[in-house]
């Protein structure tokens, strides 16, 4: 079991798709993406509705054991949250090495 950071990001689907691509460039060892997530926050409600041009959220989960990479990811996420809303949480976890 190796200590690591557990980064959790909720952002709008169109941004999430591109963020996923960017994550690899930033050196994330991997990520998991939960699509079609609803939510509400400062910018009102978000629900999945492809027809309406409204877009739902995605939840991206990243386990990362390298602090420098964590910082790079957070720096990349911060401006997205400012301009388009969302949430990013960081917590501690143990990563089961196999």
């Amino acid at each position: 079991m190796k200590p690591c950071k557990r980064i959790e990001i909720v952002i709008e689907a169109p941004l999430a798709q591109r963020l996923a691509v960017r994550l690899r460039q930033l050196g994330a060892p991997g990520f998991t993406l939960i699509p079609d997530v609803r939510g509400a926050g400062d910018r009102g409600e978000r629900r999945a509705d492809e027809l309406s041009g409204d877009s739902s959220n995605c939840l991206i989960l990243i386990a990362c054991d390298d602090q420098a990479t964590v910082d790079r990811i957070l720096e990349a996420v911060r401006p997205l949250l400012s301009s388009s809303g969302g949430v990013c949480l960081v917590s501690d976890a143990l990563w089961l090495r196999h």
Partner: protein, 331 residues
């Protein structure tokens, strides 16, 4: 007058109303998301295929090419005048997003107009389908160019935004691609191909349009309600009165433009209506998706509410029969 009532009394429109009613009485009626998406793909496939088969049976002439050219020019030109009009009352970002919205088109409005013509027994030509596909993208690019020139650049999501990707996405977005592709296949296989797929492409068309418009009624009414509820939060867009005025004014102005051009091009009754409807309609799928990435400062509560919750129902219920009446009167 009877054209209006005839239109309002047709099953597709009545199902649109039913969807609106569902939201008004707070019913939990809802078409599941993936099925609604599939219905929209079906409509593009069917209309594209039909258009292609129709094309195979006519010959390509210069009038056709002129119409396609005019369509693209309108899609690129409308955003320019719309931008300067809107900027007088709104932020540069919102104005640019609205400009792109009304330069581009709504495929569902087009499909509904085609269904309207079928019910009325008025013919139309396959190449209008191509016109629709060609009109989706230019407006997006012009809108963003306008913003980059007149607005403050360096928007936040810019890190995820690239021009190359944007151009690719607007040229090959799902609906443009599917409609053009189906059109080509319809054109290649002609009536022999049509025989194979007729029960799907023609038989089910109006019935599935009913179910689709039921969902569109729900979706549009929900957005209208949300935009009113958000009136004081961060999510709020422009004041409702301004949005209403702009969202009815833009299609009327553009319809006038479209009618004029259609008249200059000498289009037939059905073609003129479809052309006008394209010009008068506003995008609520492709444009908002692009704006979220390229212009995150623009508020979807403004441009999306306008095109989806006001302009779309307006064109559906009033626009189509009204433009038709004018065309009949002009011809």
């Amino acid at each position: 007058m009877s054209a209006f009532l005839g239109n309002l009394g047709s099953p597709p429109l009545l199902f649109f109303f039913l969807g609106v009613m569902a939201v008004v009485v707070r019913s939990d009626l809802e078409i599941p998301g993936q099925v609604a998406k599939a219905l929209s793909l079906y409509l593009l496939f069917a209309i594209g295929f039909k258009g292609g088969v129709a094309l195979a049976e006519s010959s390509i002439d210069s009038g056709m090419l002129l119409t396609l050219l005019a369509a693209m020019l309108l899609s690129a030109g409308i955003p320019v005048y719309a931008f300067f009009l809107m900027r007088r009352r709104m932020s540069t970002a919102d104005a640019a997003a609205i400009a792109a919205t009304y330069g581009s088109v709504s495929a569902v409005t087009f499909v509904t107009a085609a269904g309207y013509l079928d019910i009325q027994g008025v013919g139309w030509s396959g190449y209008l389908v191509a016109a629709m596909a060609l009109m989706e993208s230019p407006a997006i690019i012009v809108g963003i160019l306008l913003y980059n020139h007149y607005g403050n650049r360096g928007s936040a999501s810019a890190s995820l935004f690239s021009w190359k990707q944007l151009v690719n996405e607007s040229l090959f977005n799902a609906s443009v691609f599917l409609i053009l592709g189906s059109m080509c296949i319809g054109w290649i296989t002609g009536s022999a191909g049509m025989n194979q797929v007729e029960p799907l492409v023609k038989g089910l068309f109006l019935g599935l349009l009913c179910l689709f418009l039921l969902d569109m009624g729900i979706v549009a009414a929900r957005r209208f309600r949300d935009s009113r509820q958000a009136a004081d939060g961060l999510a709020a867009g422009q004041p409702l009165r301004l949005m209403l005025a702009a969202a009815v004014g833009m299609p009327l102005l553009n319809a006038a433009l479209g009618l004029g051009v259609a008249w200059l091009l000498g289009l037939s009754e059905g073609n003129a209506l479809l052309f006008t409807v394209l010009v008068a309609s506003g995008s609520y799928i492709a444009v908002p998706a692009a704006m979220r990435l390229a212009l995150p400062e623009a508020n979807p509560g403004t441009y999306l509410t306008m095109s989806l919750a006001i302009t779309f129902p307006f064109n559906l219920l009033i626009g189509i029969p009204a433009y038709h009446a004018v065309i009949r009167w002009l011809l």
